[in-house]
Symmetry: C2
Subunit: 198 residues, 2 copies
Amino acid sequence: MTDSAERPRADAARARLLDAATSAFAEKGFHGTTTRDIAEAAGMSPAALYVHHKSKEELLYLISHSGHQDTLRLVRETIESAADPVNALRAVIHEFAAHHAQGHTRARIVNYELAALTPAHSAEISAIRHRIQDEIRALVERGAAAGVFEVPDPAMAAIALLSLGIDIARWYREEGRWTPEDVAERYAEIALRIVGVR
Amino acid sequence: MTDSAERPRADAARARLLDAATSAFAEKGFHGTTTRDIAEAAGMSPAALYVHHKSKEELLYLISHSGHQDTLRLVRETIESAADPVNALRAVIHEFAAHHAQGHTRARIVNYELAALTPAHSAEISAIRHRIQDEIRALVERGAAAGVFEVPDPAMAAIALLSLGIDIARWYREEGRWTPEDVAERYAEIALRIVGVR
DNA sequence: ACAGCATAAGCAAGCGCTTAGTCACAACAT
DNA sequence: ATGTTGTGACTAAGCGCTTGCTTATGCTGT
């Protein structure tokens, strides 16, 4: 049986490969990236990739899966710890936007490389995406039912809110004029306007 | 000298290749699509592609360029024909959203396959994108200066408005519950809320 | 001594693109 | 009308290269 508690060299190599794959996939897309690109960026030979991962697609899956789980957790915990729909929406969009600006590289893979996953992995990831969407929609519906939000179509408002946050991964640049916190603050305010909080 | 007025067979073949490339690029991405995929979908042999186009990248460029030009024209003409900033914003977001929902296949290539263009083509397309962005930002600034929009940061509001429209290409599905017109109407209203029109 | 990390070399398959040529058809001389 | 020739759409075959991945082997820390 292998010792899973202490494998510092192997774990570091695994992480380096994941980091290299994240940068490469974000920059050139999954199909635009070769296994040689990843190995070289991780400072290894092409074959080393297969010592730690069974395929190129597995790297994509690992990045996508952890990214989706992190986002789902962020959304759930932020909503749970708020007292009312107004504060919950302000907080969740703030965190969601900051998360996507800060981690725009990984978020680009999470949101734009879904088509490259195997059918089984794609289905698993889709389920997590639905859970994220359900959290936001339920929140908007809660606010509308309580009369604090004024929205003609809660489902459409929820999609717009999510859409706004996700698309940050496409346009955000570190060299730009805004910090993730700048974007988060403005977007939280925009979110409240979208749901008609006066 | 060739007769450029009448070449129905050749032009039809060119168009079929462009249509096939549009579907394939939108579905699988530029690097995920092979020249054989495109040729087969157009009902031709792989070599036929090169009778009508010099490379696979040229197909991407043609699709991307015409798509960007169409969007720029749509934005400019819609803004020009409106009487004031409120009506201009309502109209331009309505048209922009409808355009991206209706033509989500082409819009997906326009917005998500920029990295696959050659440096020269990429620069040319970038210039058009900037012009589109400038139109929206100028409109928001005009409304803010006139006191009819209430926005803390017009540049950020402009990015959010554009972002909302572009991201429609990612999530819109024909089989979904909304028509392009449904999305356009809701989004026009959301846009006015974002810029603080009471 | 040995477990396991890492590599050099390379395989089968697939890639974008080219070459050499076929075919249908229009223009024109006879 | 008929034979001749030029033209451009289209293809069968395949070239040179790159792809994801494997195999056989060396190397290192404990």
